[in-house]
Amino acid sequence: MSTELDNIELRPARREFFKTAAALATTLIAPGILLYKTGHASDASSKKPRWGLLIDTNALSESDIDACVSACQREHGWDSDPDSRTDAQWIRKVKLTDPESGHQRFLPMMCMHCENPPCVDVCPTGASFKRDDGIVLVNKHTCIGCRYCMMACPYKARSFIHETLKDQLPVAPRGKGTVESCTLCVHRIDRDGSNAIPACAEAVNHGDRKAIWFGDLHDPQSEISQRLQALGAVKLRADMGLNPGVRYQGL
């Protein structure tokens, strides 16, 4: 409907508008791309630590694993009635039997602190999250108790708090109606850094006799990395590509 006159008068203004819009868009989008690149930088190449555990099942007896479980209970103040199906278990003793040979083996299982955690993917509110140092935690303030993370976790690492809790410890706040799991003793790590020892490892490492190594998987000089390089290890459900931070030897 525009007349010739309109067009002549509007053209420069329109051109100016597009120029400004383009400049504005560049200013707005460029930092976004930068952020995306930073956010998606490969974990392995960054200087950040990634905390993990290496568990030598050959060095662990059945009672050693019981000691791991008790140490975790004392450290975080959880308790589990053996008959209860609703009590939380942050770490558990698993017995494997080869049906052909009858060979038996015991191992402790806890949150695997995956690099690509399914629990974090499915959490609707982002309460399930992974820290920059690789530790997977639940934010107790934003967990709505939907239990979708428990459906998604391939390792059954998580527990739902089914009843009111008493006598909680300051290092491990817990709450009825929310989900929780192993924190890799994050309170010790935040205090002691790479010198930290999670409670389960502390319970079974005696002097030179070690069964659980804690350390930085990104630091090639760390004891855990050196040992992984020399002896290798197994990732549980490696087929799922989650790259768990907990590795096993002797399986």
């Binding site: 609703t86 698993v94 967990c143 059954k156």
Partner: protein, 399 residues
């Protein structure tokens, strides 16, 4: 357009003791559902049948039934608006009202079964956009808004021309919505019972059948309560449609299990569902396949029953019974079967690794689930009382 201009709609006017009795009963059960939810919230979920192995139980069966049926109930409106079948136009308004009512009932159950239902505001303000749950929160609220707008456009004569594009939007949205509901399970790669893209289309055909079954029952009930004329020809169309949808559900179930049966790795899981899973096997063959698929199919297609209204009602009820069995097997049975963390080993632990997980639903969960269903029915029945939703009569069609 011809049908639209001649069709008259009116509020349900009946005031018989029967009618009020039904409404009061529905309200009482819905309130009992709230009370049960309050009990579970104050005591914690240890009063329910759920545990750390089976984390979604009976409330989720009810909730997902209602949510799936909600999107299916909209089908009749879609057939009219999107596919231009004039015969279905008189049913379009009720189709929209019922779909909103069912969705609200289902969402209420889901919300009240949360560990922290008081944190609804957190769920509405913190979004993890990689979570299918987060998508669903947007899909469900969007569905309610879109269908309300669609309903208004259908009811407001001046705006009627817009009801067709609105119907198309609602139809597209509901397909995405049910895909989202099916994908809650389909995307769970760690569990053998799920981890299948087939769950999304399976949930869509389930929604067609379940939503239509509820629609048929409520349509016949409300016409009877208000003594309105409902000609056989209208029911005959719905009868054929229900038969088709039920057969489609059966087809998808067969393909789902055949796919799993072909590879050796899933044989143990299939054996659990089809052969020795106790309650789940019983539910599968007797309730889902027998009573929920085969018997209604026979009743809907049997030549001798084509004019029987009670056969149609019974077939619809059977489809709903089968729906609950099917969802119970998918949701609870899928969790009862243990995670396969150590393939090839016998696994034991204090945390019930390697065993079939137990789940016995509690009265509280049943009340919450049933309360959601009655709440949805109450909304639908009140909706048709306060708004001109139902046609004044559905006489035999004049050619």
């Amino acid at each position: 357009m011809k049908m639209q201009s001649s069709m008259r709609y009116a509020e349900i006017k009946t005031s018989t003791p029967n009618y009020w009795g039904i409404l009061v009963a529905l309200a009482v059960i819905a309130l009992a559902g709230f009370a049960a939810a309050h009990h579970m919230d104050t005591e914690g979920h240890h009063v329910t049948g759920m545990n750390n192995q089976v984390v979604w139980g009976l409330p989720h069966v009810f909730a997902i039934f209602l949510i799936v049926a909600a999107s299916g109930a909209l089908n009749l409106a879609s057939i009219a608006s999107v596919f231009g079948k004039q015969d279905y136009k008189p049913l379009a308004r009720f189709s929209a009202v019922l779909s909103i009512a069912l969705l609200v009932g289902g969402l209420a159950i889901l919300l009240l079964d949360l560990g922290r239902p008081d944190r609804l505001i957190v769920a509405m303000t913190y979004y993890n956009f990689k979570s299918i749950f987060a998508w669903n929160i947007i899909l469900y609220t969007g569905f309610i808004v879109i269908v309300l707008a669609y309903l208004w456009l259908m009811m407001e004569r001046r705006m009627y021309k817009w009801s067709k594009p609105a119907g198309l939007l609602a139809f597209t949205w509901r397909l995405i919505l049910t895909t989202g509901t099916g994908s809650i399970f389909g995307f769970l790669v760690a569990r053998e019972a799920y981890d299948s893209a087939l769950l999304a289309p399976l949930f869509i055909v389930m929604s067609f059948a379940f939503g239509l079954a509820i629609f048929i029952i409520l349509l016949m009930l409300s016409f009877r309560l208000d003594q309105r004329e409902l000609d056989h020809s209208h029911l005959q169309r719905l009868r054929k449609l229900l038969g088709l949808f039920t057969a489609a559900v059966l087809y998808f179930v067969i393909v789902f299990h055949l796919t799993k049966l072909y590879g050796t790795q899933n044989h143990d899981f299939e054996r659990f569902i089809l052969l020795d899973g106790g309650i789940y096997t019983l539910m599968f063959w007797i309730f889902q396949i027998g009573l929920g698929n085969l018997l209604p199919l026979a009743m809907l297609y049997a030549p001798g029953l084509q004019r029987s209204n009670s056969a149609l009602v019974i077939a619809s009820l059977l489809v709903i019974v089968g729906a609950f069995a099917q969802l119970y097997i998918i949701i609870v049975g899928g969790q009862a079967y243990p995670l396969n963390i150590f393939p090839g080993y016998i696994v034991e632990s204090s945390f019930f690794d390697g065993v079939i997980n137990e789940y016995t639903p509690s009265l509280w969960e049943f009340l919450l689930g049933f309360g959601g269903v009655t709440g949805a029915l109450l909304i639908a029945l009140l909706g048709i009382r306060v708004l001109p939703i139902m046609p004044e009569s559905l006489p035999a069609e004049v050619q």
